[in-house]
Symmetry: C2
Subunit: 571 residues, 2 copies
């Protein structure tokens, strides 16, 4: 059962179901994906409804898995009073239940992922549901067949998703469902043993060395950094035009040869990266499936911009960008190559905590106290930064609203008031009036221009500041999980003596576990150092950009006013 | 009977009466003046209460005069929801019942005077009642004896104030009561006959020639314009310090010898000028008795600034500034000189419409159609300008509130957010962090400085724009009366044939009336041309000043941001 939060009008031919705010519907299939659920209304009609438009009602008959599902739903249910400024791509932040309040951060990692934008309930129907581009009904699409294939063959039954099944699932193929029940297999606190106690470490080319550089442990960085351009979004269609989708061109700097990808392919890549690296490396969520945008063009541009940001961040990461799956994504030769690569990636067993088995720190082992201290330090830092970033987002959001709302209106009214007075003066019939009235009219127009400048400015500067902080908010939201894995490992190592005493593990196992916790710590430190160096670059860059545009803005206004000033004369 | 609108706490020793909001009191003396009335509370205590703190309840037992008094009270009663921004000297505009609505303009001249500021009910008691400086009890003051003398000997009984008594009063001494029941004797529509039919015109040095210049009829302008500096306010006291008042130094450019005047002397001058010239020349009200100001110093400064503005405007007027009474005010030699001059001025019989008897246009007579057209044109123009000026005041008031309220708070929050993020970064423990954190802190501080600049800016630029428009609002509020006198004269001339037929006037009287209406029209045209030339100068000047300060403001911000920008580096 679910409660409808907003009116939703079905688009004809899209297998959708129109629902009204306050209506109660029954969810008949939650695993549709793409932001949709299948639901039945009280008249027995069945169809698809955007999952963000509904709030699932908890019922006692649901099991453990469904319950965790529900908390997931709750965390992302749009607030009942969404921000009214439809032009503001960040309006959903206000609706983010974790925004501002940071209490959930440590205790409820699910609440800290990038807030999914609530669909704008005021957007025109024809553009309001951009997810329709990769909507349901994927089984009709040849290109997508294998995708859905994989979902049914490579996944696991829902009943396995409980805590008890986590250990077994660790090394196997994890879910590729759109709604991940657990973000990655290593999330379970019983996870780290798999690595801590595994028999054999990965050797050869999959090895991930960790060096000690000037700043401490660091990943191995390639000589030239990979870069990708996401561009040229093209509308494709299938089923004789009944379904349409957007395909983006991705061009890596290495081959300079473009490959095409739909959003769902990015999503597939994200799932693979999360599965493979998520225990060690924060893999930020993809841009929200539903970026708010009143118009199709605006929506596509916004999504592309954010996909570009996501790709750039992945390219910059030495471990991620050099991985086979990532290389496949940016350099596959043809469809066959892509299909084979996909299947291989989905069969990869070095996922979850097992990624640590590939890591080789070229440094002496750390003792547990150091490991724990580092972990605590990173936890504190990422939490504080999460608070700081959210504060900027909140303040920036307020400022955005003011700059696009009341402020330009006020400048416009000032401009109009000057011009009106000028018209009155023109009617005086007094000689020698025109110099003043011309100047007053010009001054009035100048304030109207300033109104325009003020309203357009946020797109030029605040936008980037917000995007960067939003990206960091997403990135920081991954840390509680990553750090959680480390804490779980530390706890396990601390239990060592007890486990030995209980004959659950050998003395040698205990030593191995401590050594491996040290490896994990080196990985975390390398990752933090990567994070810091990127952060310093990103914030320097975005602040430069912001201030540069702000300077231009104020200088432009000053120049316009100077011009207006020059027209007045007191002889 | 009156209703108390705001709490008022009596100052000890000032003969005041404490009252509470909602209390009903009985007014025992309405002619106290200085913004005070004497009232009795339900416990029988009698004392002074500020008239703006109460609302008079109309009762049927009151006569005509009292009724007109009541409408006067109503027009100025503070709105029950006064603006909350105590720092904004224009907050009273919102409470001005005629603000925005211009319907009253033509039909109810009393409603169009400069809105009297409501006393700020939130001001601290010790500074909240600045009118206490020239409060009641003037009979204790030697300096003021003659003033009060005049009121009782030179005035007329209240019962004379009705419409019927207007003609007889026309040439005699008008009221010097603080609350004028009619603004000037000529206001009555029956007034103009006094001049239209008078036997003898003024000759000699009191003659006011009207020339025809490039722009049309003009007053005779002196070669050098009189100027006055109002400065150096000094607190004086009387009654062994029980009463205190402020004395301003007025220094005319002609003698360069300062004379001292209290506000009540300015008020006396205003009454004289209004009485003498008001039919022909708009005499703007003095600055409100109660300028809003939280602190004594601020109040004194504000009043002085506005007295200066008023004096400057009077000095600039060739007819006013060269008048005997104005010259007396700025150049009296000693107390004896002042006293004698005062008595003489109060005995002046060339007041009200009789001022036109001094005017001699050096141009051919205008026919009645021309006279009427000019009058209509001026009426339309002054009404439109009144609307335009009020719009600027409304918009400016809004802008003032935003610039001193939410906007700087927002910049402050942006600044804090940057600085907070900078502190978080400092805690990273990562090497090479300090360049970024220093830059972020500097950027944050810059936005705090901008907040300060934004909040202080209105005092530098908007203030002058508002003051000038406020002055013009006051000036324009005088035109309905001035134009009303002309319309009444035109109507009377139109009745000419009928009056001749009824043997009320002779044929010669009719011709004389038409000629005198022409003289009045020349006077009105000369006055309008004076108004226009001043207006063009004033608006050029204030717009220059406003835009100059605005340019400086935006350039300062740009420079500060440029400085902040330079501290970021992406190597």
């Amino acid at each position: 059962m679910a409660q409808v939060l907003y009116d939703f009008t079905a688009e004809p031919g899209n297998n959708e179901l129109s629902v009204r705010e306050g209506e109660t519907i029954t969810i008949t299939n939650q695993s549709i994906g793409g932001g949709w659920v299948e639901a039945q209304n009280s008249r027995g009609e069945v169809g698809l409804v955007p999952e963000d438009y509904i709030e699932v009602t908890p019922t006692p008959s649901l099991g453990n898995v469904a319950a965790s599902d529900l908390s997931f739903f709750d965390a992302y249910a749009p607030a009942s009073t969404p921000a009214t400024n439809g032009n503001d791509p960040w309006s959903a932040w206000n609706a983010d239940p974790s925004g501002g309040s940071t209490n959930n951060w440590a205790s409820n990692p699910e609440g800290t992922q990038t807030g999914k934008s609530a669909p704008d309930p005021w957007a025109p129907v024809s553009h309001g549901h951009p997810q329709a581009y990769q909507g349901p009904g994927a089984e009709d699409d040849e290109w997508d067949d294998e995708w859905d294939d994989m979902k049914s063959t490579g996944g696991y039954a829902e009943s396995e998703a409980g805590e008890s099944g986590a250990l077994q699932r660790g090394g196997s193929h994890a879910t590729s469902m759109k709604i991940s029940l657990n973000k990655f297999p290593g999330f379970s606190k019983s996870g780290p043993e798999l690595y801590l106690l595994c028999k054999q470490l990965v050797k050869g080319k999959d090895r991930l060395p960790i060096y000690v550089g000037e700043v401490g442990p660091v990943w191995s960085y390639p000589e030239t950094q990979l870069d990708c351009v996401v561009a040229d979004p093209k509308k494709g269609s299938k089923m004789y035009g009944l379904k349409s989708y957007i395909e983006y061109q991705v061009t890596p700097s290495t081959t300079n040869r473009p490959v095409n990808h739909r959003y769902k392919h990015f999503d597939w890549l994200y799932e693979r990266l999360l599965e493979k690296f998520g225990s060690a490396i924060p893999i930020p969520s993809l841009p929200d499936k539903q970026v708010t945008g009143r118009f199709e063009e605006e929506f596509i541009k916004m999504r592309m911009e954010r996909l570009q940001g996501w790709m750039t961040r992945m390219c910059r990461h030495p471990v991620v960008s050099s991985s086979e799956v990532f290389q496949l994504f940016v350099t596959y030769k043809d469809e066959k190559d892509w299909k084979m690569g996909k299947r291989k990636a989905e069969k990869d067993e070095t996922v979850g905590v097992m990624i640590f088995s590939t890591m080789e720190p070229e440094a002496p082992d750390l003792d547990l106290i150091e490991v724990e201290q580092k972990c605590e330090q990173f936890s504190r830092f990422t939490k504080s930064m999460d608070d700081g970033v959210k504060e900027i987002l909140t303040v920036g959001h307020e400022h955005w609203k003011r700059c696009t709302g009341p402020l330009p209106k006020e400048y416009q009214r000032i401009g109009k008031a000057f011009q009106n007075l000028s018209s009155v003066f023109t009617s005086s019939g007094y000689q020698g009036e025109s110099a003043l009235t011309d100047a007053m009219t010009a001054a009035g127009k100048t304030y109207e221009e300033i109104a325009q400048l003020v309203a357009e400015q946020p797109k030029k500067d605040l936008h980037h500041l917000m995007e960067t902080n939003n990206e960091y908010k997403g990135l920081l939201g991954c840390f509680p999980d990553t750090i959680g894995v480390h804490k779980a490992a530390i706890d396990k190592v601390k239990e060592g003596d007890k486990l030995v005493a209980a004959s659950k593990i050998t003395q040698q196992d205990k030593v191995t576990m401590a050594k491996r916790a040290s490896t994990m710590s080196y990985a975390l430190q390398a990752e933090m150092n990567h994070f810091h160096s990127n952060r310093i670059y990103d914030y320097n860059r975005v602040m430069q950009l912001y201030l540069e545009e702000q300077v231009k803005f104020y200088e432009t206004i000053a120049a316009k006013l100077r011009q207006a000033h020059s027209q007045f004369t007191t002889m």
